[in-house]
């Protein structure tokens, strides 16, 4: 079905991602790409929950933050190897997601939004208030750079490839999941929980599964984030950050795995280019969001897909299809 198309888009993505740093004018842009890639990992995960299963989470940055802090504290204060720190961070986020999701996912729509919002706020307050553990509002400094078996990812280029390959793995997992019975079950739950139940789908279990999986992806992103910047502060994991992830998913396009990637890349890099307009920056940012949603209700991925279809239709009009 979508199999062949997926392999082609995946191949294009890998080529583009591998070649991207070489066409950039300066080292500075690579760091934007790294942050975009890290965010994309979280957004692809959120999109599985939001776009495919139709469940909202307004506190997703909390999972990002829990993992970032866990790994930061374990590696800096207790001398854990970075990889072990990140794995612990992912585990803790997954456990928290399981415990929160268990009761919260029985709620629907707005109630679920409120519950996850509350969860996000509590985590945010916790990060601010436990000063001895997290450093409080002024942040946690001195986190070691990612390294594995003695190799330090000191150069941004090396870190970029680390992030790009992690993102590729996350995309492959997501694509394969969507094209399976679990993927169909999630989409069924999105349309009608009752009809899904009648098909023998254990609705609560699937919701919980995708909630935990999306938290795991957010947590992976959090670990990569902490060991890249070597500094974390609660402000990066508050409500604004959660909202940002949702905007990226919606703008990118919720009906495709690629939407999350495109949305994260677009919204992380756009402010950098708008910076030259100084005081107009925020207005332009808002305007672009509005125009995108007006003319591409299916998101950027949907818009690009349509464009690609149009172009290939023009080129291969006499083709077999």
């Amino acid at each position: 079905m979508g199999g062949k198309q997926n392999i082609i888009s995946l191949a294009v993505f890998i080529v583009v991602a591998a070649g991207f740093p070489w066409i950039l004018p300066s080292e500075y842009y690579i760091s934007i790409l790294i942050l975009s890639g890290i965010t994309a990992i979280a957004v692809v995960g959120l999109n599985l929950l939001l776009g495919f299963a139709g469940q909202i989470s307004l506190g997703h940055a909390a999972f990002f933050g829990i993992s970032a802090y866990t790994s930061a504290i374990l590696t800096t204060n207790y001398g854990f190897p970075v990889l072990a720190g990140i794995i612990c961070g992912i585990f803790l986020s997954a456990i928290v997601a399981f415990l929160i999701g268990m009761p919260a996912l029985k709620l629907k729509a707005l109630s679920l939004a409120m519950a996850t919002l509350g969860f996000g706020l509590i985590v945010y307050i916790f990060m601010n208030e436990t000063i001895t553990l997290t450093g409080g509002p002024s942040g946690f400094v001195g986190i070691p750079r990612f390294n594995i078996m003695g190799y330090d990812f000191y150069s941004d280029l090396a870190y970029y490839y680390l992030v790009a390959s992690s993102l590729t793995v996350v995309i492959i997992i997501s694509l394969n999941l969507i094209n399976s019975r679990a993927g169909r079950a999630l989409k069924a739950i999105h349309s009608s929980e009752n009809a899904a139940r009648v098909m023998g789908i254990n609705v609560h279990r699937y919701k919980l599964f995708v909630f935990v999986l999306s938290a795991v992806f957010a947590a992976l992103a959090g670990g990569l984030y902490a060991h890249y910047l070597s500094f974390v502060a609660p402000s990066a994991f508050g409500f604004h950050a959660s909202l940002q992830l949702i905007v990226m998913a919606i703008l990118g396009g919720m009906s495709s795995v690629w939407g999350g990637v495109i949305g994260a890349l677009f919204l992380t890099s756009m402010p950098e280019f708008l910076r030259i307009y100084e005081e107009l920056e925020t207005i332009l940012y808002g305007l672009i969001l509005i125009l995108c949603m007006m003319f591409m209700p299916q998101g950027l991925a949907g818009g690009l897909g349509k464009l690609a279809g149009y172009v290939s239709g023009k080129l291969f009009r006499r083709g077999l299809k």
Partner: protein, 258 residues
């Protein structure tokens, strides 16, 4: 037909919604490989009974036995796994999927593999997906929708969405399907096709059918047994001929003189 052949047996079902008694003491059974219809005026409790049988709502009192097993307080998705699948009065096709994917979802518990199989694309994944796809295509052909298989489900006209729901329901290989007003909104030609499909479902697949329906022509032409509900109670049971001549039924539908 002897009593042991009952596939589904509901005994003394009571359902209360606040102060309203939606069902009071309804007993109903469906013999193996039969088509049983549930009829009655609006608000008689037909859909409520279907909801109780499939576990969408729970009864205040009474028991439900399916394949001689008590399912009275079992979750809906497990009842489905046991082999009872229903369709809905207001269509509930899966909007975010193609026609084929809709039907494949119906076989969710028939061709199983783990999430890990799908992520790693193991041989088991490919084998089961192929089986699932073949089964779904076969069912689409059966209801005459094989040409529309790649369309988004919502692009189908209303009548065809009804057929899609039927294909999806039988793809799970159920022992029993419960149809909630399958002819609602269909024209007479579509209703005739539907009647043929329902008869064939029993004939070709050996599936027992429970039918809630207002279209009397359809009910009378395909049912073996008819149960009439009024105000949450059974007022008559019998063959189509018995029911047509039952004065109580005529009164319930047309009202009495005084």
């Amino acid at each position: 037909m002897n009593k042991d052949a009952a596939l589904l047996k509901c005994s003394d079902i009571y359902v209360r919604f606040g102060g309203v008694m939606a069902l009071s003491g309804v007993s109903f059974q469906a013999e193996k490989n039969s088509i049983s219809a549930l009829i009655g005026p609006n608000g008689a409790g037909k859909t409520t009974l279907l909801n109780v049988i499939t576990g969408m709502i729970s009864q205040s009192e009474g028991s439900i036995e399916f394949k001689s097993r008590d399912l009275s307080s079992i979750a809906a998705h497990i009842r489905s796994q046991e082999g009872m699948i229903r369709t809905f009065q207001n269509l509930e096709v899966f909007a975010h999927m193609s026609v084929l994917e809709n039907v494949m979802t119906g076989a969710h518990n028939r061709y199983k593999y783990t999430v890990l199989d799908s992520i790693l694309k193991t041989p088991k994944y490919f084998a089961r997906e192929r089986q699932c796809r073949d089964a779904a295509l076969e069912k689409l052909k059966f209801v005459g929708l094989e040409k529309e298989r790649d369309l988004p489900a919502l692009d189908l006209p209303y009548g065809k969405q009804r057929l899609l729901e039927l294909a999806r329901a039988i793809c799970g290989d159920p022992a029993l399907i419960l149809l909630d007003e399958p002819a609602a909104g269909l024209n007479s030609r579509e209703t005739r096709t539907l009647g043929e499909v329902i008869a064939a479902i029993r004939q070709d697949f050996g599936i027992t059918v429970v039918l809630v329906e207002h279209d009397m022509e359809l009910v009378m032409s395909i049912s073996d047994q008819i149960t009439v509900l009024n105000f949450g109670q059974v007022i008559a049971k019998g063959t189509p001929r018995d029911i047509q001549n039952n004065p109580e039924v005529i009164e319930a539908y047309l009202g009495s003189d005084d």
